[in-house]
Amino acid sequence: MSLLSVNTVDRLDRPSAYFGKNKRRRYNDEEEQQQQEKADDKLKTATTLYVGNLSFYTTEEQIHELFAKCGEIKRLVMGLDRFNKTPCGFCFVEYYTHQDALDCLKYVGGTKLDERIIRTDLDPGFEEGRQFGRGKSGGQVRDEYREEYDPGRGGYGRAYDEQRQREEDEYGAGR
């Protein structure tokens, strides 16, 4: 009911800068600008959330149990490793209404699921193909070069781990 256009504290139900991050650089031509506006419009009515930082072992049922607290879930798409089709730590949750998606950003994003702090972001909508990781080795890009050991997400980053192994081998061979 409030008449405020700007709130006195930040809102947690704003989309992140993820979409439009690449396009924002400079509007080279009109077409590009229109595309950008279209994407913004899509987020204004979006009913889908991208959910990140899940453990590889978190199941659909667990996600359902938590996210249904914000409204009935229309569709849940697990993020999969492109090559071996196993969960790789993200998913898309689609609600029936935009409000449910916003509420989820406010109330569930940044809380724990399966004892990990999860991330939620408004998403313009799932499209076939987006369920797969885009990293070189099949998982998410962020799991390629991760230098920390994360048991819930396959240990070290894969590319990082490979390099580490190689260096170790070479070091051993050199001796």
Partner: protein, 823 residues
């Protein structure tokens, strides 16, 4: 977590590294620009927004500083506009700061009367808008702010407006004894009075007492719905049942009036203000007076979009040996609660900010109202008897629970209140966790008499909260209760909580968090990812056919391939004299679907989707087969009822099951002499099923009442509405009839139990479950019926034709429109 921990480390050594996380933007790695002087408007803006937030600064200094800067720069339009707008924004969103904002305005007005006039005019404009739209919380907050400026007005100031609001309340109450809007107006008056009396204005005691005398009758006459929304049904627990907020406030106000309006918890930041030049205490009497703005209160007053219900005062710290929260005799209990509740509900868009305000509660009330933060409960015990300050964490947590347990419905989704408590715990774990512990103990100890819907909310919150904090709880303190009968509410709670914990995690993990003897409550069945397929054992009847069907479903075989096996089962059953051969064939089919789809929810959904037609036919052909679908699902997932409920939910969406069939399954097939009522997951399933029906009903009502609807659509949609309304009533009637007999102990199975006397200790518990179920669903009936008749009262009457010239082609109110929710 790693993503979060790492943010501040290892910067600068990887030049040209890509921006990888959304938060990276917060850290600018470029060399900083030369420092520049912060412009004055930005300083004022910041000071205003954070007014009273810091315990390290004297708020009086800030008030004088802001007022002086704004008055000195009156000609700077940006500063003036910011001051007016931000002050009012804070009144809207951060109610605990209203006295401080009012203090600033009082001082600003004494320096530059135009400032006071400007802000009063703007506030009055907003107030008028809220009165016209029936936004009564916003009305309350703006009137509170205007009331605190009472010394600035000519004559009686705000009182004529309060009198007028009261007159409307009287009109409404005279018109109907069921009226709730009049009660809301009385509440607005009640929660304005203390602030008017708090203001530096003097000589209004007579007006205040006069109003109080008038509100007395309305505030103290109990409304018929109060009992229905009470945390504790007065029948079950008279001593714990709370009083209505307005009747409580009425007696507290009267006590306060006779004590000369001491109002000891509310801050008076204007009291110790000295004039910087003369060093004398500031007086607001001599300043230029302004006329109280013209406000029109329409008659009758409207109500906004939110339906009204009586509110009941709940405290989870009510019966402690030492008082840690203000008692209900003390007006502080109502005043602090009111400010906190509004803060919580207004700031749902930033739970972290909400939690911060709750933790900082001691900044916003008179100093020494509370003990030091994080004072342990044992220390409170030692302090008892001396001065009686309260424990800030308990007061804050109490307010959140009062909203989580609001009946018939909380303002926001319940998970918001979960998240506020989680954030509070994150900000101040050592202070909040023990408070939560005592709240949990209070609720647990009163489980048997608490409203059943609320004990379910408690269960839900408890498991969700623990899931955010490593599932640690002192289970050992409830060990003795494990000897209670299996259907006891405490056992139901413990089992229900463990089940919900497992749903958010997994059985082995939860088992590892439990002390002896709790692990045995998590059976080996719960630890299996995939429950066994009963037809895998050759001993099972129809084992061969069951396995065959399972293989066919797995192979995605066509219906024609499956049919012969189904027929084989039915023939066999018939030859064995089974009354309804569809029952074993349905069991084999549905159990196979569950088994093949046991890998995940999407697996079972695609299995159901493929078998949709057959399932729809089964459901339509035989009532028994329809309940068998539910039985098979519930039996296959007996150890993980959360999954079973989920599948039932989807089957309802597909209309393979009807809501009534779910009720029949519970109250006929599985009633088990009423013991089924003790199962939390059954209550969850029935509530969800009824929720689907009432949601659909509300969508139809919304379609029927949308403006600009004309014939012939009006009649079409009205027919749908009547039909669905009847269906809903049938459903509620079925629940009522089924549970009434259990609550009375006259259910057939109950009568056959034991010696038939109905006096077994278990029988007493079962009848209590029955009464608690009944209360929940009777309330739902009352709420839904009230909603429908309220909405229809303002709907376009049937027979209304489109005005000439209007196009009627753009209305999308086809029947299909209200079929949302079907996947």
């Amino acid at each position: 977590m790693s993503e979060y921990d790492r943010r501040n480390q290892g910067r600068g050594d990887r030049g040209g590294r890509k921006r990888r996380y959304r938060d990276d933007d917060d850290f600018d790695r470029r060399p900083q620009r030369r420092r520049y002087e912060e412009p004055l408007f930005a300083v004022i803006r910041r000071q205003l927004l954070t007014i009273a937030e810091s315990a390290a600064r004297r708020v009086e200094d800030d008030i004088q500083g802001i007022a002086k800067s704004v008055a000195d720069n009156y000609d700077d339009e940006e500063i003036r506009r910011d001051f007016v707008n931000i002050s009012l924004d804070l009144v809207h969103e951060q109610p605990m700061k209203i006295p401080f904002i009012a203090g600033t305005v009082l001082v600003a007005h004494s320096l530059k009367p135009e400032l006071g006039s400007e802000i009063i005019t703007k506030a009055a404009g907003a107030l008028q808008k809220y009165i016209d739209t029936g936004a009564w919380r916003e009305v309350k907050l703006l009137i509170r702010f205007l009331g605190l400026l009472q010394p600035l007005y000519e004559g009686e100031g705000i009182f004529p407006l309060l009198e007028e609001l009261f007159a409307r309340a009287v009109d409404l109450q005279t018109a109907s004894s069921e009226d709730l809007l009049g009660l809301e107006l009385v509440k607005v008056i009640q929660f304005t009075l203390p602030y008017v009396m708090l203001s530096p204005a003097s000589g209004f005691e007579a007006q205040a007492s006069g109003l109080l005398e008038k509100t007395d009758i309305i505030a103290t006459t109990p409304h018929a719905l109060v009992d229905l929304v009470n945390t504790f049904s007065p029948e079950e627990n008279q001593s714990a049942a709370g009083q209505s907020v307005i009747s409580l406030m009425q007696s507290q106000l009267q006590r306060e009036a006779s004590n000369g309006w001491e109002l000891k918890c509310l801050p008076r930041p204007w009291k110790d203000l000295r004039d910087p030049e003369t060093d004398e205490f500031k007086s607001f009497d001599s300043v230029t007076k302004v006329a109280f703005p013209e406000i029109t209160v329409p008659s009758p007053v409207p109500n906004g979009p939110h339906p009204l219900f009586p509110e009941v005062y709940l405290s989870v710290y009510a019966d402690q040996e030492v008082d840690t929260v203000p008692s209900t005799d003390d007006i502080s209990s109502s005043l602090i609660r009111d400010a906190l509740v509004d803060t919580i509900n207004l700031l749902d868009f930033n739970r972290v900010a909400t939690a911060k305000f709750l933790i900082d509660i001691d900044c916003y009330f008179t100093p020494y109202t509370f003990v030091k933060r994080a004072t342990p409960f044992d220390r409170m015990r030692e302090l008892a008897g001396e001065i009686q300050p309260w424990k800030p964490e308990d007061v804050a947590v109490d307010a959140v629970f009062s909203q989580l347990f609001q009946l018939p419905a909380a303002e926001h989704k319940l998970v918001y209140y979960h998240s506020v408590l989680t954030e509070c715990c994150k900000i101040a774990p050592a202070a909040i966790a023990p408070s939560l512990g005592r709240a949990i103990r209070f609720l647990y100890n009163n489980l048997d008499t608490m409203d059943l819907e609320l004990s379910q909310r408690f269960l839900d919150w408890f498991a969700h909260h623990l899931s955010n904090f490593g599932f640690t709880w002192k289970w050992s303190e409830w060990t003795d209760d494990l000897d209670l009968p299996a259907i006891h509410p405490k056992i139901a709670f413990i089992n229900g909580a463990l089940d919900k914990e497992i749903r958010l995690s997994f059985a082995q993990r939860i088992k590892g968090t439990l002390p002896e003897p709790y692990p045995k409550l998590i059976t080996s069945g719960k630890e299996k990812d995939t429950p066994e397929f009963k037809f895998a054992s050759d001993m099972a009847p129809y084992a061969k056919e069951g396995q065959e069907i399972m293989q066919l479903i797995r192979k995605k075989a066509t219906d024609e391939e499956i049919q012969p096996v189904i027929t084989a089962i039915e023939d066999q059953a018939k030859s064995q004299g089974v009354e309804d051969p569809k029952i074993p064939s349905t069991d084999a089919f549905v159990t196979s679907i569950c088994f093949v789809g046991s890998k995940s929810l999407s697996h079972v959904l695609s299995c159901i989707d493929r078998s949709k037609d057959r399932l729809l036919t089964i459901g339509a052909e035989s009532k028994h087969a329809r309940t068998q679908i539910i039985t098979s699902v519930m039996e296959y997932w007996v150890d993980q009822p959360g999954i079973a409920i989920n599948i039932i939910d989807k089957l309802l969406n597909y209309t393979i099951l009807s809501p009534l069939s779910v009720l029949e399954w519970a109250f006929v097939e599985s009633v088990a002499a009423g013991t089924i009522l003790s199962k939390p997951h059954v209550f969850e399933m029935i509530s969800a099923t009824v929720g689907k029906v009432t949601n659909r009903m509300r969508q139809i009502v919304a379609a029927r009442t949308q403006p600009g609807l004309y014939e012939p659509q009006l009649t079409a949609i009205d027919e749908t509405l009547s039909r669905e309304r009847e269906d809903m009533q049938t459903l509620f009637k079925y629940i009522e009839d089924s549970i009434v007999s259990i609550a009375a102990g006259s259910n057939d199975e109950q009568m056959e139990r034991g010696d038939g006397s109905g006096d077994l200790p278990e029988d007493v518990i079962i009848r209590q479950w029955g009464r608690r179920w009944l209360r929940v669903f009777r309330r739902k009936v009352a709420v839904e019926e009230a909603f429908i008749s309220d909405a229809l009262a303002n709907a376009t009457p049937l027979g209304t034709e489109a005005p000439a010239g209007a196009t009627d082609g753009d209305l999308d109110i086809a029947d299909a429109d209200v079929d949302a929710g079907v996947q």
